[in-house]
């Protein structure tokens, strides 16, 4: 494996007059756990959208394990092994937990094998069961996703990202709308699963960050203003001012 999992080179994105991402350079090492923080509108989600191909940049390149993915379509980028969790929990409401995870596990099949195959083979099922244990949904495989609570949906979506066996996980606010105890639980889950996957997390919750953050990147008005461990970041005056300071 190359020594760089994901490399962002001189990336820029404008929305009309707004410079959403301003010449950003970023490198993610394999198996790294990185938190992306910054005030609302800093460009965190936009960065995820650019990496996953939802929107295309005006300038710059994105390299995944040395391969240029800047102009690929979203499903092509996903197929390389980049999986994402959306900010608002996004699961398939009309399907059961087991089916949700099964679809995620079968994600890289060709259209032909989807049409002519069945995915509930034992290997897939075993993996899915394992994941259900991990995200605290064990024994509830036949429950419809629509009946889950907000926090449980977040967990299910994290489970789906995991079932996909990604090389890189992009988690957009995995603890949004969670109770403090659920937030703590989520930080444990993410710690466990990020051991052998490159993980990038967007978060607002300071408690969560303290718990989890090894490397933190601070984004402000589309540009990177600081990088370092959480303790280092906390002590930078500029960061306190634009981000942490507001929250006291």
């Amino acid at each position: 494996m190359s020594s760089v999992a994901l490399e962002i080179k001189n990336l820029s994105k404008r929305f009309g007059g707004l410079q959403a991402i301003d010449h950003v350079n970023l490198t993610f090492k394999p198996w790294e756990l990185r938190c992306l923080i910054g005030p609302n509108g800093a460009g965190k989600t936009t960065l995820f959208n650019l990496i996953t191909g939802r929107i295309k940049p005006n300038e710059g390149r994105i390299l995944f394990e040395g391969k240029d993915i800047t102009r690929l379509k979203p499903h092509e980028i996903s197929r390389l092994g980049i999986a994402r969790k959306f900010q608002v929990p996004t699961v398939f409401d009309d399907l059961t937990i087991l089916e949700n995870l099964g679809i995620a596990a079968g994600g890289r099949q060709s259209v032909r094998s989807i049409v002519f195959s069945r995915w509930n083979e034992t290997s897939v099922l075993n993996r899915v069961r394992e994941i259900m244990d991990m995200v605290h949904l064990s024994g509830r495989g036949d429950q419809l996703a629509a009946t889950l609570s907000h926090g449980e949906k977040q967990w299910l979506e994290i489970g789906m990202v995991l079932a996909y066996r990604p090389r890189i996980m992009l988690l957009d606010e995995p603890t949004a709308g969670m109770s403090p105890s659920e937030t703590m639980e989520t930080s444990h889950i993410i710690r466990t699963i990020s051991q052998n996957v490159t993980t990038v997390v967007i978060e607002h919750d300071i408690k969560f960050l303290r718990e989890i953050a090894e490397n933190v990147t601070v984004l402000h008005r589309g540009a990177i203003i600081a990088e370092g461990t959480f303790e280092e970041i906390e002590n930078i005056a500029l960061v306190r001012e634009v981000y942490l300071g507001k929250r006291g």
Binding site: N40, T52, P74, H75, S78, R79, A83, R84, F86, V88, T90, V91, F92, D93, D94, L95, E99, G102, I103, A104, G106, G107, R108, V111, I114, V115, S117, R118, W119, N120, Q143, T147, L148, S149, H150, G151, E152, M160, Y164, A176, G177, M178, S179, P180, S181, E182
Partner: protein
């Protein structure tokens, strides 16, 4: 469950000996319509793609068989005609689907373009230059030999307008085949993925699925089925430009909506009920019946959007849901009142973002 299936099958097989001629003809037609409604349901009920011009593919099937019978006289031409109708519909669906789904046309725009396709086909078959081929306003009525089914060259039977039993049983077999096909399709892994497309196609895309290709596949399958239904309807139904008309395509949507979309029995029941109500109303009220039918449809959409099948589902799940909602509410994980407050507050933040 098995007993119900057997009873229904028995009733279907025995029906022609009980029902009058008029009813047998009507039910034969309903069976063709039911296949068409099923195929629209695969698109609309399961995948979330509402086609406003689904009648076009039924018409393609009907005209394909009709024209084959009119111009090509050889043993087994009826089968060739059905095949041409089905595969022709599939090919047109693939070509159209390629441009629509890779062009990210969705929602109402998908409906409008399928509607445009019907209108185009209507003008083609109605065009004066096509008169000698397609018969214009008169359609193909009385211009072709009757289709022969059975084993070509060895044992054949003919379907004509008056051979009620032959028509009934041929369409019945066709309907049952289509129903079983759809039954297995929606329960397969592909069927689950269709529901996932309806729920959230973006989520699916970010799990590596080529959603555009999957939509092309289901569009082609549904349109092929519609073409097949059209071919089966050939001697019972007048083949004319009306199959490409707006009213016919709208009727298909009404059948599915009244019966209940997202179920397989629903569209069939919807086709049966609406066709019967329609034929009854049209004998009672010479011209006002369309008005009543429209009112009926509006009432269904407003008061029973899940259709007839929704009544049954609602009755079955009423007892279960009230308890389940409480058990799995977000508050179930919070222990003390302060924590509940936190949850409520963070939910509030979520909304304001």
């Amino acid at each position: 469950m098995r007993i119900i299936v057997l009873v229904v099958l028995f009733a279907m097989v025995g029906f022609p000996w009980v029902g009058g001629d008029y009813d047998v003809v009507l039910v034969s037609r309903v069976l063709c319509f039911a296949i068409l409604a099923l195929s629209l349901d695969l698109l609309w009920g399961y995948t979330g793609l509402l086609s406003f011009g689904h009648g076009a593919f039924f018409g393609i099937g009907a005209y394909s068989l009709g024209l084959t019978l009119k111009y090509l006289h050889f043993t087994g031409n009826a089968y060739v005609g059905i095949l041409v109708g089905t595969i022709g519909a599939v090919i047109i669906a693939v070509v159209l689907g390629y441009f629509l789904f890779y062009g990210r046309v969705s929602g109402i725009y998908f409906g409008i373009i399928t509607l445009a396709l019907t209108t185009i086909l209507f003008s083609i078959v109605n065009h004066p230059d096509a008169f000698y081929i397609a018969g214009g306003q008169n359609g193909l009525y009385g211009t072709f030999l009757k289709p022969r089914y059975g084993i070509p060259g060895i044992w054949e039977y003919q379907r004509t307008l008056t051979s009620n039993l032959a028509n009934y049983y041929t369409t019945m077999v066709g309907f049952l085949a289509a129903f079983v096909f759809c039954h297995y399709l929606v329960r397969s892994s592909f069927g689950k993925i269709l529901r996932a497309i309806q729920n959230n196609e973006e989520r699916l895309e970010y799990l590596g699925y080529n959603v555009a290709n999957l939509k092309i596949v289901i569009f082609a399958v549904a349109c092929g089925l519609a073409g097949f239904a059209g071919s089966l309807s050939v001697p019972i139904q007048f083949i004319g430009p009306t199959v490409f008309g707006l009213i016919f395509s709208t009727s298909v949507i009404i059948w599915v909506a009244v019966g209940g979309r997202g179920t397989l029995l629903g569209p069939a029941i919807g086709a049966l009920v609406v066709t019967y109500v329609e034929s009854w109303l049209s004998t009672q009220f010479a011209s006002l019946w369309v008005l009543f039918l429209g009112t009926f449809f509006i009432l269904v959409i407003v008061f029973q959007p899940d259709g007839i099948m929704g009544l049954q589902r609602r009755w079955r799940t009423r007892r279960l849901t009230t308890g389940a909602v409480m058990n799995h509410s977000i508050l179930s994980t919070a222990q003390d009142p302060k924590e509940i407050q936190d949850v409520v507050r963070s939910l509030g933040n979520k909304k304001s973002q």
